[in-house]
């Protein structure tokens, strides 16, 4: 593709559109960082230069808004989900792809059907199920239903397709058991795909809203999104401290994205390949 190098009105408009869109995209991030330094009244007024209330905002966030507790809850819940989820989903993807049978293909078809199911349709019977199991208001309530992810199984299955079956055959001739073929030979070469899956699952769980909102009413187990939601319901809101909470809940995902862009985007694109 030839790129025109001389300046023209068309090019000028193009640069203008791109720069405006980039600025609009980034501005709320500046707003959020700057907000952590402002006193609560200035946040809403739209002051764009840093203020001097960072320490008092931070203090209110940790004491009034229990930020360390909610951060730990979010982190523990997301990490446990990722650890269990990657193992369980990778094993399933491996089984579906490398040990194909008509019966298992049919099971996979049923799994895929649930991809288009809106979450709101499933949370009501789930609430009933968890109240029957006496698991409401526990971390398990948030972790258990999100371990198995049809999307992740689908994504990893696409990646297992690329692993040559001949290598597995060779290992079989050498007398390796199927499980050791998976653990010692296949899994190590799939690290990049597992990283994409792990990032995707971490973010999905870190940001998850509707189910935790329903399953968790106890402050001690709330995650960051639910904590922010309840802060927003209150009559008086400490906006400066709120901005600290908002920053802390965005930063881990931002860092994941900036340090592992390739795997991050690969996880996103898994669905179109």
């Amino acid at each position: 593709m030839t790129v025109v190098n001389k300046w023209s009105p068309g090019r000028l408009i193009m640069w203008l559109v791109l720069l405006v869109c980039a600025a609009v995209s980034i501005f709320p991030f500046y707003w959020m960082l700057n907000g952590t330094t402002l006193n609560p009244n200035d946040v809403l007024r739209g002051i764009l230069h840093p203020g001097g209330s960072f320490l008092s905002n931070w203090q209110k966030a940790t004491t009034t808004y229990n930020l360390p507790l909610f951060f730990t809850n979010s982190l523990v819940i997301a990490l446990v989900t990722v650890l269990l989820g990657v193992v369980v989903n990778a094993l399933a993807a491996f089984g579906f792809e490398k040990y194909r049978s008509r019966a298992r293909d049919r099971v996979f078809g049923i799994l895929l059907l649930t991809l288009i199911l809106p979450q709101i349709a499933i949370v009501i019977p789930m609430f009933k199920l968890f109240s029957f199991l006496k698991l409401l208001n526990t971390r398990a309530a948030i972790i258990l239903p999100s371990i198995m992810s049809v999307f992740i199984i689908f994504f990893l299955r696409q990646n297992f397709k690329l692993f040559p079956t001949e290598i597995m055959e060779a290992a079989r001739v050498d007398g390796a058991s199927e499980l050791s073929i998976f653990v010692r030979i296949v899994a190590p070469s799939m690290r990049a795909s597992f990283a994409s899956a792990a990032i995707y699952m971490f973010i999905a769980q870190w940001n998850s809203y509707l189910w935790p909102l329903i399953a968790i009413l106890n402050d001690a187990i709330k995650t960051l999104p639910i904590a922010m939601a309840s802060i927003m319901q209150a009559y008086t809101i400490e906006y400066g401290a709120l901005m600290v909470v908002v920053c802390v809940s965005t930063l881990p995902v931002l860092i994941l994205f900036l340090t592992m862009q390739k795997q991050f985007v690969a996880g996103l694109l898994g669905s179109v390949k």
Partner: protein, 298 residues
């Protein structure tokens, strides 16, 4: 031969062993809830007890103006916001891919950045930005774009605009990445040939780029539609419980409030969620037919 048969059986058993944990979790946390909800559809909850009412929940829905309005809002958001966002994402992708050479990576990164925020964070940020005497109104007032502040959060028309603004901010860059990947897989010779034939950039965009990217546009449209049908964070937090006066109430938020806030009628809420499932399914089917059909025709 007998040994081979035994080996095949061993492989088959290992295959089931691999999918067993997932299948178990699927049965408990997907299949069972979905199947058990079939029972709720025919019931009406009063307190802790519930009674059989047949299709009564659907009769009630036909008379429920708030639910119908909520579905209408989902539809408004879908019809107005998705085309704007998809077009903008496509335009930005084409500009980044073919228009410029310098700062390509930086601009792409900047425009993608909103995709790392959670929907709750988006709602909180936009709520602080769009107060009546807040940032955006101040900027627009001092730029003489408006003469009096806009009620972004408490005017029933502008609140809908606010929700759409927030969604567009969050998802345009996300969709743009898919288009960028699609553009990079296109054969550049087509554009060079068009250039030689004297086709303008705009003409190339509409007659070459868009038709070739139909599968990705389709993917974008289907996922955005399913996302819009599930809209709940933004109306609940950004415009506060579907306010002002239910002007931004969405189906998912109404169902949530009916089951966990207002009257705890799980039967009615489940029935409404079935309607949402059916509508989402029909919309996906129509989109696949419309755009998919056009693709096979060319």
């Amino acid at each position: 031969m007998a040994a081979l048969g035994a080996h095949q059986r061993y492989l088959n058993r290992f295959g089931w062993f691999c999918i067993a944990p997932s299948a178990l979790l699927f049965c408990v946390f997907y299949a069972y809830p979905i199947l058990s909800s079939l029972y709720y559809v025919t019931r009406r909850w009063k307190g802790v007890s519930n009674t059989f009412i047949g299709l009564g929940n659907f009769v009630r829905m036909a008379r429920d103006n708030v639910f119908q309005a909520a579905l209408g809002h989902n539809f408004i958001f879908m019809v107005i916001q998705i085309p704007i966002m998809v077009f903008l994402a496509l335009l930005l992708a084409v500009m980044l891919n073919q228009g410029i050479k310098r700062f390509r990576g930086t601009l792409r990164l900047a425009i993608f950045l909103p995709s790392v925020t959670s929907l709750v964070v988006v709602s909180v940020l936009f709520r602080t930005l769009l107060q009546e005497n807040g940032f955006l109104n101040n900027v627009m007032l001092s730029g003489h774009l408006i003469t009096s502040p806009i009620g972004w959060l408490n005017n029933s028309f502008w609140a809908k605009v606010t929700v759409m603004l927030a969604i567009t901010w969050r998802w345009t860059g996300y969709n743009m990445v898919f288009f960028l990947v699609g553009l990079q897989s296109l054969d550049t010779q087509i554009f060079e040939a068009a250039e030689v034939d004297g086709a303008s950039k705009a003409r190339q965009f509409f007659t070459i780029t868009i038709p070739l990217l139909v599968p990705i546009i389709l993917f974008s449209a289907v996922t955005s539609t399913s996302g819009t049908m599930q809209l709940i964070e933004e109306p609940n937090i950004l415009t506060f419980q579907g306010g002002p006066a239910n002007a931004t109430m969405t189906a998912a938020l109404y169902i949530y409030r009916q089951s966990f806030f207002v009257n705890f009628d799980f039967g009615y809420a489940t029935s409404m969620s079935y309607v949402v499932v059916v509508i989402s399914g029909i919309l996906a089917f129509i989109q696949l037919r419309l755009l998919g059909g056009e693709r096979s025709a060319t």
